[in-house]
Symmetry: C2
Subunit: 400 residues, 2 copies
Amino acid sequence: MPKVSKRADKTIASPIRKFLPLALEAEKKGVHIYKLNVGDPDIPVPADFWKGLRSYKFKGVGYAPSPGIREHTQAWIQYYSTFGVKLEVENLLPTIGCAEAIMLSLLVMCDPGDELIVFEPLYSSYKSFATMAGIKLVPVTLKVEDNFELPSESFIRDRITKKTKGIVLVNPNNPTGTVLTDKEIRMVVRIVKSKNLFLLSDETYREIVFGVKPRSVFQYPEARKFGIVVDSVSKKFSGPGLRIGSIASFNKNIMWAILKFAMARLSAPTLEQHALIPLLKHPRKYTGPITAEYKRRKNVVYSALKKIPGVVCREPQGAFYIMAKLPLENAEDFVRFMLVKFRHNNKTVMVTPAEDFYITKGKGRSEIRIAYVLNTTDLNDAMKVFGAGLEAYTRMKSRK
Amino acid sequence: MPKVSKRADKTIASPIRKFLPLALEAEKKGVHIYKLNVGDPDIPVPADFWKGLRSYKFKGVGYAPSPGIREHTQAWIQYYSTFGVKLEVENLLPTIGCAEAIMLSLLVMCDPGDELIVFEPLYSSYKSFATMAGIKLVPVTLKVEDNFELPSESFIRDRITKKTKGIVLVNPNNPTGTVLTDKEIRMVVRIVKSKNLFLLSDETYREIVFGVKPRSVFQYPEARKFGIVVDSVSKKFSGPGLRIGSIASFNKNIMWAILKFAMARLSAPTLEQHALIPLLKHPRKYTGPITAEYKRRKNVVYSALKKIPGVVCREPQGAFYIMAKLPLENAEDFVRFMLVKFRHNNKTVMVTPAEDFYITKGKGRSEIRIAYVLNTTDLNDAMKVFGAGLEAYTRMKSRK
């Protein structure tokens, strides 16, 4: 039998999804699992999406143009103008979720063997896509104890080699829930400018910010030459199954390459592009209530975690994740314990062990990511179950 | 400004889509263009798709599971059973169109620098995906004069090097419209078996065959160890904008790698997976009338082409394309002439120049691909306009 490629072998399974079989097993036995592992929100897509879908008036569903259905692309442009970023239709291409936008960005920046600077912990799909594309991710480690702040400029510059093609920012951040400060962004822009690197800014969670305004790296004029911004409707409009995102750049060569890639894959889904037009045109109407709900949830999870002895975490400023360092050695073992052994009133909690969000071996073994994708009532109970589970696990370990 | 990657530079623009600006220009001036360039059929998706879509009962549109919505995956399995191929759900994963299935197949078979044997003319997206993935396509040239038949076994074997990882078949073929014979498939299976290579079989057009039954390489038991079959609903159910395809293999290592890739990109569109279930379960109900219509169209185009002096073509046995060698030197120049200069009762025809369907430099310069994606009345007129255009072009050239 022929062997699969080395890149196929090396690609990691999603840390978020790989414990699914254990969860299914528990559910078969009637256990209720609070799933705080996947960033798959329970909040429904705005009703205007369904209205938009019903307004599709053709009998056929042909390919959308590779650069997007014009009115859809224009709606993205209008969306960007709501925070002062003026794009032309040539500067943006709708993609199949942010996932595709990330993959195409990696391919446009790097040839096999090239390097990108990333900050870890890092959304794990980046690791998979980099492996698939033959690209080396060079990590700069951030720590929960330092509030996940970026290190000094010289520390980052020291990671740059002849093979470095760019720096990747995820802002607001998955999995840390941090929002970059103005100072941090200026520093990164300074580095890419002086080193002539690309700057990939993943702004999927732009709208989900607590106490600050939605922002983009494109608000920094100096970032425009170097920047690629990837985006998605998945989180801001709570419709991840729609598979619509976008990729934007002011650099014509980048957008021409992206268009060539996009022609090969033909098009993003036609019906969803059509139905999302009204949402993109009046974003705040929909994102306002969604963000308010996440803020309430954040408060529940953060205050519950703060009360658990030995847990180290920081208050998220955006997205719907929190990273926590637990008073244990192996979070993966703990996650398995929660799914296989622990039950509290026949309930348990599923979270994501964070080790796979790191590139550096051995990092993050005591850490987990919690996605607060349940309503506050469920979250309150889930955090109680979580606390009880952690106590039980610690007790069990100390007995051994 | 940083430079885009070499692979981005080398990726070709779609030959099918790159003349779109000229077409738009002509349309602005009120010219009617018969578009026989893109395989984007005018036939509407079956009404049961819309019924299926309306039966979606949730308010939210969450991620589908990475290995597909279970009932959708099972519907694919049922579809495969209609031609005697017995798959388990572990053997098939729904993809974002066949395009994604092709890209993932290339990544699972090859590392950067590896080679694949392909037959040219070849659907041009393969060239783009190979460039993006850093893979070298090694072409075996087929000729219209030989009815695009595969060459001898030894001829193909001579193309195999230490870097060869597999052989790619597109059957029924885009762009040639040929259907492989039993003898041809057996020969290729013999080669992959003796050389321990992968066999990627792109069966997107399986259902659109004239006078033969829908088939799969999986009907050959010996192909199962080596085979990867990619598929799509785009053509068989006339819904290319739905972006649903599939990838199947009996090889567990392949499917595990595909699942890992699929986890990184999260999921295929949720609504379309749901709505397509009834169609996949009773395919012939829908594909029968669609295929009958393409057969009528094929007859119109083929008989019209046969009457034009100097045109060399062969009768298609499947898909909805025909390749024709024209009595001229540069088909791209002719396509441009048709869009920019030629009008017949203020109408013209857009076809695809075939040079970019070849990998070998200089091949296919006199050839075009016609996609018969219009009704027979329009096609009849389009072929008249085409004939008149070819005559006018030839006259113009002979004057120079």
